[in-house]
């Protein structure tokens, strides 16, 4: 038997009334005193009388239905077709640093394919001593490693280059996820094949129809790149490249080739479609940067923000967000409530981890007045996240990619919020 709470209209009415009163700032003090005993306490609730679900009700569970708004969302006008498109992680409603796979953003160039482990083949060819083919089972026999890394699309915040455009951290900063990967070092696979001295690059491609080929310098390939088959403890989700994908720590997500099927060792870059016509950054003078692989330090206040306003009125307020850098660990995050006039150093929930997300908190006493909320990340190299205008001064407004400028949320007196830019 399944008994859901809130099934009587009387209870629903009472709960709605409580929520409404809490949204009024003037009622905050009064709300601390209770006019009548709380029926949620004084009346025996269904869940306190009747049993809940038995084990095995959901052999693989989804989040409880109350959390049904914590989902990936897409911006339909961005792309022509969902087959070659992107959606956004609901970072505004998540906390901690690990992104649940089920709501971690997806980016496909020709749809998420189904590739079974028995059908999986990985080829290494080109400038190697031994051109090889591996099965999925072969991959599981290599020495294994794990690591937590963020994967950020180079176009994250790309819609904001010309100005504030989308209302919500999910949409402005949600082309990112952060998972714990298990896999094998790419250098172990390359050693198996034996890279020839003239091999200076690798060209990696996926098994899907787009292939999404990218060139990566051999130094990076031999450093920290992984071929991953597990994320957050379980097999990669279909949409994240099951059964094996590339993990390229700190570098733009387009290089993290999913459904990895081939690694070619080459003398020079292939200059594929994804590294010439796309994922290149056009400057104001029309010249474009290429090979802009590294994701620079960036942060965003995830809440409060336009999709998650303040509902409790003045007083204690948790300001929280995420920070990350492709060049190392986050060492500090500063938060401003006045649009960058003054800054306070926020609390890092845990010490920064290189090329992984860091959670920050600022424990704030909100006076109920308007705020212009910003965060500013600093990484272990000493790099300080710049303002959007500082980036525009160097790059102009046509870069599309690599917008790591400081985000501003205008928090209004009623607790609602809007994406704005400030002087």
């Amino acid at each position: 038997m399944t008994v859901r709470p809130g099934t009587t209209s009387r209870r629903a009415f009472i709960r709605a009334g409580l929520a409404a009163s809490a949204a009024l700032p003037a009622a905050v003090t009064a709300a601390r005193g209770q006019e009548a005993p709380d029926p949620l306490i004084t009346e025996v609730q269904d869940w306190a009388r009747y049993p809940g679900d038995g084990v095995d009700a959901t052999p693989y569970g989804l989040p409880i239905h109350f959390e049904s708004d914590v989902i990936r969302r897409n911006v339909s006008w961005l792309t022509a077709d969902t087959i070659s498109s992107i959606n956004f992680t609901p970072i505004h409603l998540l906390d901690g640093t690990i992104t649940p796979a089920g709501c971690a953003f997806e980016r496909h160039h020709s749809g998420a394919i189904e590739l079974a482990k028995p059908d999986y083949r990985l080829m290494i060819n080109g400038l190697v001593d031994r051109e090889l083919v591996f099965t999925y089972e072969d991959l599981e026999r290599f020495p294994r490693m794990q690591g937590v890394y963020f994967c950020e699309c180079a176009a994250n915040s790309g819609m904001e280059w010309a100005g504030a455009q989308l209302n919500g951290s999910q949409f402005t900063h949600g082309m990112i996820h952060n998972m714990e990967y298990v896999g094998i070092p790419l250098k172990a696979l390359l050693a198996e094949a034996g890279v020839k001295p003239e091999g200076k690059w690798i060209f990696v491609e996926g098994a899907d129809a787009s292939s999404n080929g990218r060139s990566i310098p051999i130094e990076k390939a031999m450093d920290d790149v992984m071929v991953a088959f597990k994320a957050n403890g379980e097999a990669l989700r279909k949409e994240h490249g099951y059964p094996a994908r590339l993990v390229v720590p700190g570098w733009e997500g387009n290089l993290w080739v999913k459904w990895l099927r081939r690694i070619e060792v080459t003398a020079s870059p292939v200059e594929s479609r994804e590294e010439t016509s796309k994922y290149t950054d056009t400057l104001a003078d029309g010249i474009s940067r290429k090979w802009t692989w590294v994701m620079d330090a960036k942060s965003v206040v995830t809440a409060p923000s336009p999709q998650v306003g303040i509902k409790h009125g003045p007083g204690p307020l948790v300001i929280t967000g995420l920070a990350w850098s492709g060049r190392g660990a986050i060492t500090r995050v500063d938060v401003s409530v006045d649009g960058g006039k003054n800054w306070k150093t926020a609390r890092l929930a845990q010490p920064g981890v290189p090329m992984a997300m860091t959670r920050f908190y600022l424990d704030h006493d909100w006076d109920g007045e308007e705020m212009l909320l910003q965060s500013r990340a600093i990484d272990e190299t000493g790099y300080v996240q710049p303002t959007k205008n500082a980036l525009r001064e160097i790059r102009g407004e046509n870069s599309i990619y690599h917008n790591n400028g400081i985000q501003t949320w205008w928090i209004k007196k009623d607790g609602s919020a809007e994406n704005v830019e400030v002087s």
Partner: protein
């Protein structure tokens, strides 16, 4: 990285000694220590490599034998490509335009096409052959791909209508924006500027809102505010 078989043999010999076996040289970060061939996998066959190694490099490496002319390319293009990219490669709806846009790269909203932006012709051939048509990839023959590529060059006024593209003259085609790219220069142009000690107090005299997202109102879902 192993530079030679000799180095590999040395590593294997070291690993076989009792000391090395008992105290493997494991890095503190938990990554596996041993980088030496384990004898996993099997040799790739020539037919397998030929089936998957399709990429074409800027110097033409990887191009198969074959050729195609603009007129044939136009026919194949109309049949295979025009539904998304338009009869004249101008692009339909949100699908990319493949022609035009010359001289727009330094303006607001540059129009990036094969003619205005792509630095290498090899990229066109490679992508058309491997990844197009969208939804039905890898059906175009080498000759059809040469022909479509020739038509796209014609659409961008880079060649004349009687042009025939082949493996032999491929490298002679110069793309208009070939010199339009520089390598990532952030380490020189940005990192020094963005590594100054940040201001903490009184960093600005005044702060004004200069732009609102609600002016554009393009956020999906209508869930953008507290009710």
């Amino acid at each position: 990285m192993l530079k030679s078989r000799k180095a590999a043999a040395l590593l294997i010999a070291l690993a076989a000694t009792p000391v090395a076996a008992q105290t493997p040289d494991a890095p503190a970060d938990g990554t596996p220590a041993a980088i030496q061939p384990l004898g996993l996998g099997r040799p790739a066959m020539a037919e397998e490599i030929a089936a998957w190694d399709l990429d074409v490099s800027p110097d033409g490496t990887g191009l198969p034998e074959g050729s195609g002319d603009v007129m044939t390319g136009e026919e194949v293009y109309i049949e295979q490509c025009a539904a998304c990219h338009g009869d004249f490669a101008e692009g339909l709806d949100n699908w990319p335009s493949l022609a035009g846009g010359e001289g727009t790269l330094d303006r607001a909203d540059p129009e990036k096409t094969i003619g205005s932006y792509w630095p290498y012709l090899s990229t066109v051939w490679d992508y058309v052959h491997h990844s197009m048509p969208f939804g039905n990839a890898q059906v175009l023959t080498a000759d059809e791909t040469y022909a479509i590529t020739a038509y796209l060059l014609y659409s961008n006024s880079i060649v004349e209508y009687d042009f025939v593209l082949s493996k032999d003259n491929f490298a002679e085609v110069q793309m208009p924006n070939a010199e339009g790219f520089i390598e990532d220069d952030r380490p020189q142009s940005e990192y020094p500027i963005f590594s100054a000690e940040p201001c903490m107090e009184g960093c600005k005299d005044k702060v004004e809102i200069t732009m609102h997202a609600s002016v554009l109102d393009v956020t999906p879902g209508g869930e953008d505010a507290v009710e």
